[in-house]
């Protein structure tokens, strides 16, 4: 079965420092991976995705993620954190089991990112 794990419930970073939010996955076949961000009382916003190609994917708001097949990881990164980056971050994998061609997403539990001034 496909699954996603976000091992950290919370990540604390000082403004201006680099940040990493971790994600590991388990899929059969090639993964389709996504990162979403959720601000309080708002819906999920798409940040970036990996389908194929370059292992370093660049997305919105200066975020990027590195796909590592050998470690089955897709960590989210940003070189310099902003206070406004504080939010809930979700990693997701597309379920591509044989019976499903519809692209439903399996989400991790989420990681609360807190950036302090």
């Amino acid at each position: 079965a496909q699954s996603v794990a976000q091992p950290e419930d919370q990540v604390n970073v000082a403004e201006g420092n680099p940040l990493t939010v971790k994600c590991t996955y388990s899929v059969s076949g090639n993964p389709y991976l996504f990162w979403y961000v959720q601000y309080p009382n708002r819906g999920l916003q798409f940040l970036l995705k990996y389908i194929t190609g370059d292992n370093l994917v660049k997305g919105s708001y200066g975020f990027e993620a590195e796909f590592n097949k050998s470690q089955t990881s897709f960590h989210l990164k940003k070189p310099s954190a902003l206070v406004s980056d504080s939010a809930l971050y979700f990693c997701a994998v597309r379920d591509i089991t044989f019976h499903n061609q519809g692209g439903k997403l399996i989400f991790g539990q989420g990681t609360e990112l807190s950036v302090k001034p």
């Binding site: 996603v4 389709y32 996504f34 979403y36 009382n41 708002r42 819906g43 999920l44 916003q45 798409f46 995705k49 389908i51 979700f90 997701a92 597309r94 379920d95 499903n100 061609q101 519809g102 692209g103 439903k104 997403l105 399996i106 989400f107 991790g108 539990q109 989420g110």
Partner: protein, 113 residues
């Protein structure tokens, strides 16, 4: 352009009542998804529509839950005989195809008393 919209934003109901939650996807998006998010959890898939048909309803928890998309655009999630455990935020998303990113609405917060 307009994003995914959901109504109502909040719904409070009593145990045993029937509720309908509406989703208006991005114009032209053929794929529509419903998810449910409980407090402190990631969204969990409920059902997927491609056009008018429910292509995958494997996430619906039981037969009290049903969803329709009669004209291939707006979708309604229907919950019969609501239970307190149904309380959650119900999220709708749409995409231009199953391989593409999904765009989410703001959600409907359902509270069953």
């Amino acid at each position: 352009g307009a994003g995914v919209s959901q109504t109502p934003s909040n719904k409070v109901t009593e145990k045993g009542k029937y509720v309908e939650l509406r989703c208006d996807p991005i114009s032209g998006h053929t794929a529509l998804y419903w998810y449910r998010q409980s407090l402190g959890q990631g969204p969990e898939f409920l059902i997927y529509f491609q056009g008018t048909g429910a292509a995958d309803d494997s996430g619906l928890p039981n037969d009290r839950f049903f969803a329709v998309r009669p004209e291939g655009s707006v979708s309604t999630l229907k919950i019969q005989r609501t239970e307190r455990g149904d309380s959650a935020v119900y999220l709708c998303a749409s995409s231009s195809g199953p391989s593409n990113e999904q765009f989410f609405g703001p959600g409907t917060r359902l509270t069953v008393l």
